[in-house]
């Protein structure tokens, strides 16, 4: 899918809550060796949202900063799409609240996306289409999550919170979104039934037939459509449900550890689901130079992948003028909490017992 007219990123920013929990402290509660689990997943800590943080607040903060970097006013926003699997409401859009918090209402289109961990990249594609067709001037694509694993489930070691927002438009771009493609199948590797609090997953089934198949095929499809290969990219960002999968996929496709390192945040903050690839890309853009090429491939269970071919422009140097924290700065602010505080924050326990 090649955009008809040039389209790209005008501003971006990420936000990650400051609380962290270590695998050791999770394992201790469930009689498991959390440190071994953590090493296996290549996760040293995961982010935990404060009780007053959710996808709305994470999205709002990220979008506010992204707008500062893009230097655009709220009335220049024509569309907002928020991708998440943990929207605070099952019915009632996150996007309307984010739009109101940015004072972008009422003259814009807004909607929520859900596609497990790739709802954020789906929002990218929608904004690309609307901008390159000339239907809108600027759109905001957000991927954010405050994902939860059931207490005691293996997912509990990785499910984390965070997100990033991108102002997508034409004109003065920080980076060009040159090409995108998707790979979609019906693969039940991970799901959450309506009305259920925690997701279910297919264990090892989430690996080969799910994550690896989609990430590899989608990336290869992008190579085929663009005539490029791993050597044409300075950086690559893959979806990162743990520290193991993206490293393995990168190696298989032909990327080096150096190419994926800047965007690999999972080790310190865990799996931020729809936020993972947008945050990884933001961290990569934070250190990219003009002319750099970035390959991005997201993955969402259920299942599908979206790949992007991105080229950084000379404007990337300007973002330092804005007082927006880099991803490195954001994730370096951390406060470690115990499992009991974590359980309270995530409403696994509550005062009064309700």
């Amino acid at each position: 899918m090649k955009p008809k007219e040039e389209v790209g990123i005008k501003g971006y920013a990420g936000y990650v809550p400051k609380y962290r929990i270590k695998p050791k402290d999770i394992g201790e509660v469930w009689g498991e060796d959390g440190e071994v689990m953590g090493r296996g997943l290549k996760i040293e800590s995961k982010s935990v949202p404060a009780p007053d943080e959710d996808v709305v607040t994470i999205s709002t903060q990220a979008a506010k900063w992204a707008m500062q970097r893009a230097d655009i006013d709220s009335d220049e926003i024509d569309a907002i799409y928020v991708g998440s699997e943990s929207h605070p409401y099952a019915v009632k859009p996150t996007a309307t609240i984010v739009a109101a918090s940015l004072a972008a209402t009422p003259h814009l289109t807004a909607a929520d996306y859900e596609f497990a961990c790739k709802a954020g990249t789906a929002a990218f594609q929608t904004c690309m289409g609307l901008v390159s067709s000339g239907m809108i001037t600027n759109g905001i694509a957000i991927g954010a999550d405050t994902s939860q694993g059931a207490p005691g489930d293996a997912l509990e070691y990785s499910t984390a919170a965070g997100g990033a927002a991108y102002i997508i438009g034409a004109g003065d771009l920080l980076a060009k979104l040159k090409h995108t493609c998707s790979y979609t199948t019906d693969t039940p590797d991970f799901w959450r039934r309506e009305g259920k609090k925690y997701p279910e997953h297919g264990g090892r089934f989430t690996g080969k037939p799910a994550y690896f198949k989609h990430v590899t095929n989608c990336t290869n499809k992008l190579f085929e459509e663009t005539g490029k290969g791993p050597e044409d990219f300075d950086y690559a960002v893959f979806h990162q449900p743990n520290g193991k999968f993206p490293r393995k996929a990168a190696k298989k496709i032909g990327f080096s550890q150096e190419q994926i390192e800047p965007g690999l945040l999972v080790t310190r903050i865990g799996n931020t689901y729809s936020g993972a690839v947008p945050l990884g890309l933001a961290a990569t853009l934070d250190q990219a130079d003009p002319g750099d090429n970035i390959l991005v491939t997201g993955y969402g269970s259920g299942a599908g992948s979206d790949s992007f071919d991105i080229e950084v422009t000379k404007n990337i140097k300007k973002i330092k003028d804005h007082k927006v924290p880099t991803i490195k700065e954001i994730i370096s602010e951390e406060e470690f909490i115990s499992y009991s505080i974590y359980a309270k924050f995530r409403e696994k326990i509550s005062a009064g017992g309700e």
């Binding site: 007053d52 709305v56 607040t57 903060q61 605070p88 609240i97 109101a100 918090s101 004072a103 009064g352």
Partner: protein, 135 residues
């Protein structure tokens, strides 16, 4: 907690810090007012909305150990009276900071957080809170 329409009416003000300015004397107010206490009748229908920049400093503060029921999960938490750059003052929750690091005069900036909810199955209320900033 507060019924939906009562919260909804002030959504803009609580999300974005929209106050009001008296076009008669140019004095700014937050929370917004329909009447300027300085100009009184002359200000009626002469108050206009104005957006706060979101930055300010702590005037006084406290750490709450016995919160209202719906704030239990935050306990203990810090409340402060904040003087905004524009000179108006408001009451808000300070996040991402511990009591020993708070002091009067500390610079803070607004961020949007969940304030509460109408009920467990009800509407979620969002609005400004503050966190410390350098400068």
């Amino acid at each position: 907690m507060m019924p939906i329409p009562r919260f909804w009416r002030e959504i803009k003000q609580r999300y974005k810090g929209i106050g009001s300015v008296c076009k008669n004397c140019e004095k700014m107010y937050f929370p917004p007012r329909k009447i300027c206490p300085e100009c009184r009748r002359e200000s009626f229908q002469n108050m206009e909305p104005v957006e706060l920049d979101g930055r300010g400093e702590v005037v006084t503060y406290t750490e709450i150990h016995e919160p209202h029921t719906e704030f239990d999960k935050h306990s203990p938490y810090i409340m402060a009276i904040v003087e905004m750059k524009e000179g108006v003052r408001l009451t808000g929750h300070l996040v991402n900071v511990d009591l020993e690091d708070v002091e009067s005069g500390m610079k803070v900036e607004a961020t949007m957080r969940k304030l509460g909810e109408e009920s467990r199955d009800g509407m979620i209320y969002y609005g400004y809170k503050f966190w410390p900033v350098d400068e």
